[in-house]
Symmetry: C2
């Protein structure tokens, strides 16, 4: 059975949205990704937390069969992020970032993790993403997510690791910024030329824009009547996407990547319906299958007569 290795942040978030405010809730890219991807395949997390990370929050992951042998617990405080969506539900305003134990994070893979076939480099410093990648023997599929902060501050390092990546997931404003373009149709081609065969642009409530094998696949998000908290939706999308691929016999095919996008969109739609990882921890197959069927109703149509 395929297993997924993910490196990313495990932390605590304080979030304010029009629906309310939550303090020190489970957050970080690896938490969201793992809870989503573990619906599909076993997930191994590489990351670091401080002594203040609560046992019950580790149990959330373990109850989903996420293996935490690669998660270091270090003296010091856990990574913390604080953000607000009061101005715009589509874009977080970062109020505060405390790296804490993440500042000196230097991931050393366990021997068994070096054998991983499916490696996902969630949004962290591209230097760390490269370090992890170099420790894996012969990965079959490599995915990567990033953010504006690294595009601005470590573009060369990011480009270096992207050369080795199969699937590049990022949001729309990041894609335009990195490609130095104002049109997404052009931008994804340029990003693909850096290295990744498959580029998946996450567009929030407008869905996704995939470019792979020279072809486009574009769909909207599942219509959610109340977006409570958009935090982690992109990581949940990546988890659903990468999780689905890890179960597919032909993960580099356009067809598998299309299906993976649909799974990513559906998992992300659950994520935003409550704060933090609350709904992700309650997800099961019947819920996912039901929503995939509903999603297909919304975006499917018969060939129009002309």
């Amino acid at each position: 059975m395929a297993e997924i290795l993910v490196v990313g942040s495990v932390g605590y978030d304080t979030i304010e949205t029009p629906s309310g405010k939550v303090d020190s809730v489970v957050g970080g890219s690896a938490n969201y990704f793992s809870l989503a991807a573990s619906l599909y395949s076993p997930v191994n997390v590489v990351g670091v937390v401080g002594r203040d990370y609560r046992d019950e929050d580790l149990q959330i992951l373990q109850s989903r069969k996420v293996n935490l042998s690669g998660l270091k617990v270090e003296d010091g405080k856990t990574f913390r992020w604080s953000g607000s969506y009061l101005e715009d539900l589509n874009e977080a305003v970062t109020l505060k970032t405390e790296l804490n134990v993440f500042r000196d994070f230097d991931p050393k893979l366990l021997e068994k993790h070096k054998q991983s076939d499916y490696v996902f480099l969630a949004n962290i410093d591209p230097t760390l993403q490269m370090s992890v990648l170099q420790q894996v023997n012969s990965p079959k599929v490599i995915g990567l997510d990033t953010m504006n902060y690294w595009i601005n501050s470590k573009k060369n390092e990011l480009n270096a690791v992207l050369k080795k990546v199969d699937i590049f997931l990022l949001n729309e404003s990041e894609a335009l910024k990195l490609a130095e373009e104002n049109n997404i149709v052009v931008a994804v081609k340029k990003l693909s030329e850096i290295g990744p065969d498959c580029v998946v642009v996450k567009r929030g409530e407008y869905g996704f824009f995939m470019y792979s094998h020279g072809r486009y696949f574009v769909l909207p998000a599942y219509p959610v009547a109340q977006v409570v908290d958009p935090t982690g939706a992109g990581d949940a999308f990546a988890g659903g996407f990468f999780g689905y691929l890890s179960r597919n016999g032909d993960p580099k095919s356009f067809r598998a990547q299309q299906e993976a996008c649909v799974h990513g969109a559906v998992i992300a739609s659950f994520c935003v319906q409550d704060f933090s990882v609350r709904l992700l921890t309650q997800l099961d197959w019947p819920k996912v299958e039901k929503r995939i069927s509903e999603y297909m109703q919304v975006v499917s149509f018969a060939s129009p007569k002309s």
Copy 2:
């Protein structure tokens, strides 16, 4: 054969976009709508121009079999609009609006136009939209478009005419504004409760969001690598949408409206690829059919395994 009656503006635009600037080019909702809809059915325009409206610009419409017997030519200057997309290709900044002969426009329908089955009330004062509607004997399908200006200044008049409308097309920010909601999934339901069975929200490069018969149909735009001028894309969408319906035996069915959305999206994608109505005047069936097929490649997928 079904004919379409459209009332709307016929005018001249001066437009600046990142691709360049054009001065006094053919514009106005009725021009864009008619050129699109006349690909499907004969169109009769109700509107007004001034003595300065160029014969060659009337011939553009006549060459597409758009009937202009309802277009009055009055002493005075033609309606003019000037806008810029230099800041944001998704939203025009209006630099100047000169109503001119449009200021005292009081549409009186010719007898033959009173028999129209398909009536489209393009974006003009809702009082004029109501006046036109009251002159039509027994329309089969009524469509309406509007804009923020009327939502802000004539909301009661707009609501009154909406009670009589079957299909309401408007853009996303307008839909949220009129519904007083910040979520489009909720907003379309509220708009439908005013009267229209079918609400089609135009989302620019993100496509459309339809709500009809209690169901959603949502798709992205056709991917255009160079958006030259977004002006009129919404009216072109409406023309393709309404034109398609006028040829369908069951124009109030969800299925026909889905297909109409696809046609609208495809016609709009041509519109934005050049300034003014330039590409619309060159459209023919083979081009439309080819792009519908390309569009379906971009948004279609097989049911994902789960």
